[in-house]
Symmetry: C2
Subunit: 368 residues, 2 copies
């Protein structure tokens, strides 16, 4: 099998991590990189993330068997235009890494039509608080969803070929229509970011007249506003490239707020109880039955006493078991909290942990 | 100093934990308890949470120096009415544990007026996913806010006397006007619960037509809907006893959603960027400058590799240091995440941890 040439445009966290993931299973592939700024380009070369790097996007495009555009959405579309005017290898695969897919797939179909290229949209669903090639991590996409959104230029076998090239990412690959991808993410990601930012803005304004709001804000408020600290530029482009779906969620949500307001105004206790209970049951449903759903699928809950080194004691029992997540929160109890939650990558590790903790401690252990 | 008689009505998580906290510093106090159902009453007796227990609220009321009503809001008001018709000890202190304070303080002032009793509202800001006397915990209120809302029946010295009685809770005591308490909590707790429940309901409905919404829901969505699993009955009474403030937050929030919608419709990228950036800056402000604010004040962040036992290794270095919170999340990176966050109770522990981790590992350690 011939050694492919992979061209990664954009050597930030995502592009750099994709390059590392490809290298892991395909050390013989030649990985070329583009980055406008010197910094990440030099870091990528120093870390061996890429074999060669350029500041001129056009330079390496004609050499590539696969071109991955890991740059902001607007620039991704610009690069697709540039590629449409270049002589590329026959059947080159062009893909991207944007958080919205409709406009990018549309641009691919529009500008690349008639060329001997294959185009498929990609959304590797991962991110980090860190950025730049310096933060690139070969494990960034492990167990994360890697979503393919096919276009009219996606031929039979294109996605399977890409899966083979990306095998070292150890991601969970899913194929979905671009418009549906944007609708789904508007509900579970884009609109929630608006809720978080607006709640944060509202509380900040309110605190100027009600100062204790700064002090009483508890775990629930913290969790609901955490993503309000996301990178503004990225979320601005996401909203601008998914307008219809996001506005649909806003309008729908305002109606739900009106309905709750009406129940409160009428002091309809039964209806308010049903409203809260329905939300509770809905979430439990998602948690328990949906693999990769709202909650990590393999969670273990341990009721731990408020004692020193209790977490250390449990982790010593779990030595060698790889945890996906560990969380305990005792600093404020105005919410559903107060237990040690440990998430595992698979049911085997979960069962093992449940067994050893039950056998070696008197802590109550439960699955949910 | 004479040994006081404390009467705790309601032996659930809150009442039971209050009783245990009082006992810790005042083992000689006599603690009497009321609970309607046998279960928590018997558990409270078995665990020694109370010295005597009754199923008849009136039975112990005349014996008490302090009466703590730790029952639902509506029942608290009913008990205040009952107490107003009884012969109680002179200068008995009557207080409660309700999550909203306006209606309870109003009831106290209305029904207890003219009696030789002292009344002050209380809101111990703590909770747990657990409930009942079985879950009562002497440490439940440690470092939590315990809010006093004075009434016209709160005499000089009443609150100081209560602080002395409650010293074993190790809580942070704050005094605030009842109406202001309800306004502040409507913003940082009550309205956010509506947002979480409505988002959960919306996503559940959406997922019936867009099934992948169940699968792509990530850390951000999970955190924003976590409190949607709170106990419906409690939150129903909270909304019903804080209608005006909560409806005010709903109306204000709808205007904010309209504003964002307008920016999206106009594709005003600069304004959307400013909106997200302002929310980001506002939250950072709260995090960094507000003790007991949005974030625990003494957080340490450690950039950890995705290796087995890395958390164990760090906790071994921190052996004997008491953590308030530890959190790492690698299962999904579609949000601000991917580092180990450890929260400490004070700056000394934080500095110690920073030092030992820096000296003994090559992990990057930062304060924010």
């Amino acid at each position: 099998m011939e050694n492919k040439v992979i061209y990664v445009a954009g050597l930030g966290l995502i592009g750099g991590s994709l390059a590392l993931g490809i290298k892991r299973d395909h050390p013989d592939y030649k990985i070329l990189g583009y980055n406008r700024s010197d910094k990440s380009r030099n870091v990528a070369l120093e870390r061996g993330i890429v074999d060669q790097a350029t500041a001129d996007f056009k330079e390496f495009a004609p050499l590539a068997d696969v071109i991955i555009l890991a740059v902001p959405i607007k620039q991704t579309i610009e690069f697709i235009k540039i590629l449409s005017e270049m002589d590329l290898k026959d059947n080159v695969i062009i893909t991207d890494a944007g958080s919205t897919k409709g406009e990018i797939v549309e641009a691919g179909e529009k500008y690349l039509a008639g060329k001997k290229v294959r185009f498929v949209g990609s959304h590797p669903m991962a991110g980090s608080h860190k950025s730049g090639a310096i933060a690139a991590d070969v494990n960034l996409f492990e167990n994360a969803y890697y979503i393919f959104t096919p276009s009219s230029l996606t031929l039979d076998g294109t996605i399977d070929e890409l899966k083979g090239i990306l095998s070292g990412l150890h991601a969970r690959y899913v194929e979905i229509d671009a418009a549906e991808h944007d609708r789904v993410t508007s509900q579970i990601s884009h609109f929630p970011h608006i809720l978080a930012a607006s709640l944060m803005e509202q509380a900040g304004d309110y605190a100027t007249e009600h100062e204790m709001a700064n002090h009483f804000a508890a775990g629930a408020f913290r969790d609901m506003t955490r993503i309000a600290e996301s990178e503004p530029g990225m979320w601005t482009s996401i909203l601008l490239t998914n307008k219809e779906a996001v506005i649909g969620r806003i309008d729908d949500f305002k109606e739900r707020l009106d309905a709750v307001k009406e129940l409160i105004s009428k002091s309809d206790g039964d209806a308010i109880w049903n409203y809260f209970n329905h939300a509770k049951e809905t979430r439990k449903e998602m948690q328990i039955h949906k693999r990769g759903g709202v909650e990590s699928a393999f969670d273990l809950f341990v009721d731990v006493p408020d004692e020193e080194d209790v977490i250390l004691r449990i982790l010593e029992l779990l030595r060698g078991t790889s945890l996906v997540n560990i969380h305990v929160n005792e600093e404020n109890r105005e919410d559903i909290n107060g237990i040690l939650q440990i998430s595992f990558k698979n049911a085997k590790d979960l069962e093992h942990a449940k067994k050893v903790i039950s056998e070696n401690t008197d802590y109550k252990v439960h699955i949910n």
